[in-house]
Symmetry: C3
Amino acid sequence: MSWTKKHLLDIESLTAEEITTVLDTARAFKAVGERAIKKVPALRGKTVVNLFIEPSTRTRISFELAEQRLTADIVNFSADASSFKKGETLKDTAKNLEALNADFIVIRHSASGAAHFLSRVVKSSIINAGDGAHEHPTQALLDAFTIRERKGSIAGLNVTILGDILYSRVARSNIWALTKLDAKVTLCGPSTLVPKTFEQMGCRVTHNVDEAIRDADIIHLLRIQHERQRKTMFPSIGEYTNLFGLNKARLAKTKPDSLIMHPGPINRGVEIDSEIADCSRSLILEQVTNGLAVRMAVLFLLNGGKGPGEVIS
Amino acid sequence: MSWTKKHLLDIESLTAEEITTVLDTARAFKAVGERAIKKVPALRGKTVVNLFIEPSTRTRISFELAEQRLTADIVNFSADASSFKKGETLKDTAKNLEALNADFIVIRHSASGAAHFLSRVVKSSIINAGDGAHEHPTQALLDAFTIRERKGSIAGLNVTILGDILYSRVARSNIWALTKLDAKVTLCGPSTLVPKTFEQMGCRVTHNVDEAIRDADIIHLLRIQHERQRKTMFPSIGEYTNLFGLNKARLAKTKPDSLIMHPGPINRGVEIDSEIADCSRSLILEQVTNGLAVRMAVLFLLNGGKGPGEVIS
Amino acid sequence: MSWTKKHLLDIESLTAEEITTVLDTARAFKAVGERAIKKVPALRGKTVVNLFIEPSTRTRISFELAEQRLTADIVNFSADASSFKKGETLKDTAKNLEALNADFIVIRHSASGAAHFLSRVVKSSIINAGDGAHEHPTQALLDAFTIRERKGSIAGLNVTILGDILYSRVARSNIWALTKLDAKVTLCGPSTLVPKTFEQMGCRVTHNVDEAIRDADIIHLLRIQHERQRKTMFPSIGEYTNLFGLNKARLAKTKPDSLIMHPGPINRGVEIDSEIADCSRSLILEQVTNGLAVRMAVLFLLNGGKGPGEVIS
């Protein structure tokens, strides 16, 4: 099917077919990234503003490279050096960017709903690069792309997401994407961070890590946010590592072809054993590579591309 | 007439004909900004350095987009991450940029005269993006462009500038541009911020806001700088809003076709009522759009373009 | 001879022939910098990441301009806004950049050996833009280029390096380059900062500045790092200036055609008298201009260029 959406705000409102169109288009762009000349002129003369009102390095760089490889004009706007100190509202900032004829605004913001809000107030296409604890749709798309590349398809797979689910936009977007693509999703972590209410999203919830990973095809680890500890959501980093960290002993009890994912940056020795992060079953760096292809695909489709057949590779 | 100047340092030294050449050229570039592909190759292979020794978001982004749409190579140099901490002088910094074959240096600096100084020490073309309380010439040019677009011409119009005139480079550049183009300029604000000496620039000065705006065709509001209050230039923000803020009651007493301008970022509820900022008589966002076209025109002319007839659109 | 190396990590491991190939290639690129259109498409579609984990303005800008003039895609990654705060290791950061298909990583880092380390862990070409007190190879190459341009050749010249040798990567890279090219190198400065052990690198060491500069063809001044004073490596800035600063009286006792160099940014009135910095014997700004050409040459050669014959100028 051909793409018609103007914004990428979340995974919740995408159909399985739309997700699949992104993944198919990303496959074509992945080939572009492997060439000596990694550019296509699809966004030549278009203006993309990266509006990062929350610190980010890897997502910002990934978007920026995707935009460059599509030959867009790019302006970076981050909070610290900005009018935000002077008290301008987010709406006024966005209206200003619209007045500068920004074709795309890629927004990361600490407030859930920021991307949806922008899509209602400006004519530019909005891409959500993470909004509060709500969604991080390109992360879920790159994760789905990575799983599909390695496992052939997603339907019927057991995917376990392990960690701080409650506050994780990565988890939320992944749950939407994976359940729409008919995976069986299990959530696991400390009970304070993985409430039973997530069962309403179609997931299994367990607080027993061995049970959670035993039958998993994919073990998706989330980054432990140290600040949660101070809020007493879990007793200590060491305790978390003991109870939920992925180590050799735990991995030995999983299926022999289970694969490990993590959105990065990883805390070696905390949620993941250092050796496991680097082993052949770890897809962590493939996720990074695929993220670039997925973001190129998203920009391409929102710019009027219909699907993978139009990518010149 | 055709353009011959190498630098844009101020409005004071421009003739009415030169100002008009910029506005006519900007009109041609405004059309470029509305196309799907918003680029022309006029500055291909030229190097522009944005030397911002004072924080700025909107002006920096506007220049950066203008430069990109002219296909220049761009380097951003801002104070915080810079050699300034190590104590290098502004002259040495500029001589270094010249040694790197910078064709243009766009400078914003907290010291009045910084742009003139650079034009005397380096061979690069200098564009003043705001120097202390002295001038902000591209702001005045974009304001004049916006007025001319809406009102047809500037000669004979009543323009009232309202706010902190004394410390405002925006006000100073606007006064030069508007009086050269034969508008009648009225200045208004607290007497500490709008001294009578401005009458020497050919303006009417009043401290009575109702009188100032009654016959105005254009009401140009300046941003209230909160730090002035601490310096006791005016009693309080609330007091300023009561006495000089543009609200519905005041606007109702002006001419029915009066238009409202503001250089941004606006303080909603301080110098301007929130509803008025968004009403159809507000030109605030048009100013932003026009700023990009004006900055493209300035770069194009300083690069050897003669006038609007040479713009490929 | 034609270039074969993949990385530029140091001068120590280069042969005299390799250094000469860089200098010859840089000569061709210097001509490009003087043209109206200062671009060549040699790195079109290639991705360069500037990974600056230590503050820098001039080196970063010089690299960035070199990359732009070669038409590369560029991403800037500096420490303050980065994942480093979240505790990701340098290796993990580099592996992520490799996963994004970075063709080149230009790294500046406060730890000696950082560039070598990266070259062992990722497939990207690594350029050392300064690592701790170890090496700063492009600085030494631009210094050698500048000397050769002015003096015709380097063999047999007396070059005196004056200042904080012990902690200076600039000194170390220059010593390697100059001795490989058969210059006679003298080191001078306070005994705490210029230990006798440097004689093992083939240099003469003296703590008497008049003796050090008497027969010098080139006097290379290093920047005084104010923080050394606090560590009591020398008594005070004023004392350093008196004992080792280059002033008119001292310069008068040198050869009439001696030339003065400094990597910048200079401390006027500290290690160099202000007038001397600006006199016709000062090569300080030529070094800046040549730095750009040398960095273009390095990127060009590491990208598979064989030598100066291939530069389209």
